[in-house]
C-alpha cells in the first residue's frame, strides 16, 4: 500500500470517528456526577448488611467476590507462567556473580542508599501489614497491602545487596504462600456450601462495625489475597532479578 493510500485511509477513519467522539463528548455526565444507583446502594448496604466501612473491600471480597476469585487465579497463572519461562531456561540454582558489561566496574553501594533502605524497608512492610489488616475498615486491602510488602522486600534488596536478599527470600516458601493463598480463597468460597449456603455466601458472624475483624468471611478472603499477591510479586521480582546475574556455566 502506498503512502498516499495510507494517508487517505487514515483521513477517512478520522472523519468517521470524529462525529461520534464529538457527540459523546457533549453528552457526558458532568465531572464527579454518578447517575448510576449501584454506588449509592453499596455505600448504604455495606455498613448495614456487612458491618464494613470500606465499601471497596465489601465489593471486592463479598458482593463481587466471585470476580475476585477469577482475578486471583489470573494472577497465579501469570506468575506461574513468568516463573516457568525464566526458570525453564536457567534452572533453579542461585547464581553468584552479578552480570555486567565488559570493562565496566560495579559501583559500591553508597552509605545513603544503605541507610535509607534499611530504615524505610521495615517501615514500609509494617505499613503494608497495616493496610492488609485494616482492609474492611480503611482504604486498601489484600492486594494493595501485599504489593506494598513486596515493595518493602525490594528495599531490602537495595539495602542488603543481592546475596543478603536471596538469603531472606526462600522461593519454596513463596511458592507455598502463592498457591496456598489461592487455595485458601477457593476453600473460603466452598466452605459455606458445607452449611447449605451458596458459594461465597457470608455465613460467618459479621463482627462490629469499624472493627479490624468485621465483615465475616471478608478478613479470610482478604488474607488469602494478601498471601498470594505478596508471594506472587516477590516471586516475579526474584526471578527477574536473577536474570541480571551472570550464569555460572556458559551454555
Amino acid at each position: 500500500m502506498s503512502a498516499a493510500w495510507r494517508k487517505a485511509l487514515f483521513g477517512l477513519g478520522l472523519l468517521l470517528l470524529l462525529a461520534p467522539v464529538v457527540g459523546v463528548a457533549f453528552h457526558m455526565p458532568s465531572f464527579g456526577d454518578h447517575p448510576l444507583p449501584y454506588g449509592d446502594a453499596i455505600n448504604e448496604g455495606a455498613p448495614r448488611d456487612r458491618h464494613v466501612s470500606n465499601a471497596v473491600s465489601a465489593v471486592n471480597f463479598d458482593y463481587r467476590g466471585f470476580d475476585t476469585l477469577g482475578e486471583e487465579f489470573m494472577l497465579v497463572t501469570a506468575v506461574t507462567g513468568a516463573v516457568f519461562l525464566l526458570r525453564g531456561s536457567r534452572g533453579e540454582a542461585v547464581t553468584s556473580k552479578p552480570g555486567t558489561l565488559p570493562n565496566r566496574p560495579i559501583a559500591a553501594r553508597s552509605d545513603a542508599v544503605w541507610l535509607i533502605s534499611r530504615l524505610s524497608g521495615p517501615f514500609l512492610m509494617m505499613f503494608g501489614l497495616y493496610v492488609v489488616l485494616h482492609a474492611t475498615v480503611t482504604p486498601g486491602g489484600g492486594f494493595q497491602g501485599g504489593v506494598i510488602i513486596a515493595s518493602g522486600l525490594l528495599l531490602l534488596f537495595l539495602g542488603e545487596g543481592y546475596r543478603g536478599w536471596r538469603h531472606i527470600m526462600h522461593s519454596t516458601l513463596l511458592d507455598i504462600l502463592e498457591g496456598g493463598g489461592a487455595l485458601l480463597f477457593a476453600l473460603a468460597g466452598l466452605a459455606p456450601m458445607l452449611l447449605g449456603a451458596s458459594y461465597m455466601q457470608n455465613v460467618l458472624p459479621l463482627g462490629t462495625f469499624r472493627d479490624m475483624l468485621s465483615g465475616g468471611l471478608m478478613p479470610v478472603v482478604n488474607a488469602a489475597v494478601a498471601f498470594a499477591v505478596l508471594a506472587g510479586f516477590s516471586m516475579v521480582f526474584l526471578e527477574f532479578l536473577e536474570e541480571t546475574r551472570q550464569p555460572d556455566k556458559q551454555g
Partner: protein, 87 residues
C-alpha cells in the same frame, strides 16, 4: 479542590506526553514511574485511595523495576559491548 484537580489533570497529560516523547528506553522507564506518581496524586485527589495505593505500588515500583531488569538483561547478554552514545 477543582483547581487541584485541573493542575493534576494537566500534570497527567504532561507526564503521559513525557513517556511518548522520551525515546531512550531507560529514560522512558523513569518517565513511566513519574507518570505513575502523578496518577497516584490524581487518584488521591479524586478520593479513590484504594486505586491510589495500587497505582503507587504497581505503577511506580513494580512495573519500572521489571522494565529496568529486562533492559539490563538485554544489555548484559550481548556478546559485543554496545557503543557508547548510541541508544
Amino acid at each position: 479542590m477543582t483547581v487541584l484537580i485541573w493542575i493534576l489533570l494537566l500534570l497527567t497529560a504532561a507526564a503521559g506526553a513525557g513517556i511518548v516523547f522520551s525515546r531512550e528506553p531507560r529514560q522512558q522507564v523513569l518517565a513511566i514511574a513519574g507518570n505513575g506518581l502523578v496518577l497516584t496524586l490524581l487518584f488521591t485527589a479524586l478520593q479513590a485511595p484504594d486505586v491510589a495505593f495500587s497505582e503507587l505500588a504497581v505503577g511506580t515500583v513494580a512495573l519500572p523495576l521489571l522494565f529496568l531488569v529486562a533492559l539490563t538483561s538485554i544489555r548484559t547478554d550481548r556478546k559485543d559491548p554496545p557503543r557508547v552514545g548510541q541508544p
